[in-house]
């Protein structure tokens, strides 16, 4: 075990404050992309499902793990694609910067 007892609690607390601080300065115009972006970040659950499926031993565990990997991959990839699509569109009128249209 890397994370022992109370250390986990400290990480928990610091991560919570970090999340709170990051968001508190975000303008309203970015709320939807940001919700989508944070949705992408918890797609890291994919790593967890890979480990869980990786040490599955019975067919039932494998089946659950397989579905979990599909769901997690959907969360990560889908979250990234929609966030990227939204953020790509934000432009300023001051300079006509590159129009990277790949949708």
């Amino acid at each position: 075990m890397i994370i022992e007892g109370f250390i986990a609690l400290y990480i928990f607390m610091l991560a919570a404050f970090t999340g709170y601080e990051i968001i508190s300065k975000v303008p309203v115009i970015l709320h939807t992309p940001l919700m989508s972006g944070s949705n992408f970040v918890h797609g890291i659950v994919l790593v967890g499902t890979m480990v869980a499926l990786g040490h599955a031993t019975t067919p039932l565990e494998q089946a659950i793990g397989f579905v979990a990997v599909i769901l997690a991959a959907g969360n990560a990839v889908g979250g990234y694609v929609v966030t990227e699509r939204m953020l790509e569109m934000f432009k300023t009128s001051k300079k006509d910067d590159k129009k990277g249209d790949n949708a």
Partner: protein, 462 residues
Amino acid sequence: MSLIINLAYFAAAVLFIVGLKQMSSPTTARPGIMWAGVGMVLATLVTFVHPEVSGGVNYTLIVLGIVIGGGLAWWSGKKVAMTDMPQMIALYNGMGGGAAAGIGAIYLLQATPETVSNTGLAIATTGSLIGSVAFSGSLVAYAKLQGLMKKTFHFPGQQVVNIAIFAITVILGFMLATGGGEIGSATLLLFFILSLAFGILMTLPIGGADMPVVISLYNALTGLAVGLKGIVLDNPALMIAGIVVGAAGTLLTQLMAKAMNRPIKNILFSQFGGSSGGAEEAIEGTMKEIQANDAGIMMAFAEKVIIVPGYGMAVAQAQHKIWEFTQLLQKRGVDVKFAIHPVAGRMPGHMNVLLAEAGVPYDIIFDLDEINEEFKTADVAMVIGANDVVNPVARTNPDSPIYGMPILNADQAHNVICVKRGKGSGFSGIENHLFYADNNQMLYGDGQKVAAELVASVKALG
């Protein structure tokens, strides 16, 4: 090898935080999501050599799962229309919650008295409950916003039933957590079924207007569930990313609820607009009509025009024409600004995305606090596809259900033009007193058609 894995997870955690931080400004938001993406790829790749991952069949299933899930999400994410973005986020979020619940199920199935502690079991059980609720709840939210489920769902004693189900689920969870690894499969199955049922039952009575706040809440819950799984799996990357999102999501939920003037408690445990909501004030004045041509000319000769777009504009797909109209006005030297109410789209910031899609630069788009004082100096305020967010009764009538909601003071402009498809009240079913004001004129018609006529009228001036 374990050093490389740990370094990669550490790097991923840093990249996620940096990425989210960069997403707090429009200029750096795009690199932000890309850095977070790099972190995700890094963490995923090193997990293939994780010491706990073994077995040919398991490897095959992992690769297959990533290809199937990732492929479907890539395809659907590229295809989805910007107006449908909220429900898509709900769907992807629900998938994450389901994945977290799946991890919990495997952990609990594998638990034996020798390998687990009660603390580990308790955390795994809590994470599974939260993940399951986020999963089934998000799917209901998706179905509602997608129009697959039109009605809200009420039955007598609903709250009592919900509380009872929740209580039984918690008791079952307590049994799982304190069983010391001796877990009955019947208990486990019932626990997951009830967790999922609770997510559904909790979300069913909530109306479509409140759904964005609920999606945001489930987003935070999924983050929390993922963080808890990180503790169970002893994986710091999961822990940090999950908790950061859990905290950020909670704050975002509060900000949204505040913008909509709907306390989270009311959204989750009560209904909106069920009754008429107090006495309606008698409305004075009459509605006056204006033709698109006259409206276009009025704005062409104005000095300052503020456009108030609402979801109706996006539904009519009028934003591109409105931007064309704006550019024509700008060429004539008119100062044009867009005023966005926090709930102008389906969730805070959604309207900005829709305008950005049409090509409107974000520096002429202002939110409520920035622009509300400017309406007094505007020659024309054009309200298109919005209703409740400009209804002055929110300021004046304490009996109104929307009383206290911050609104855009479009009524203070010298002239107001309301573009509307037909007569009738808004989303909340409340009469809009602005429509009857002396300085207001109604422009009836489909948003896109009206916008095209406005463009034509300005072009005709040469």
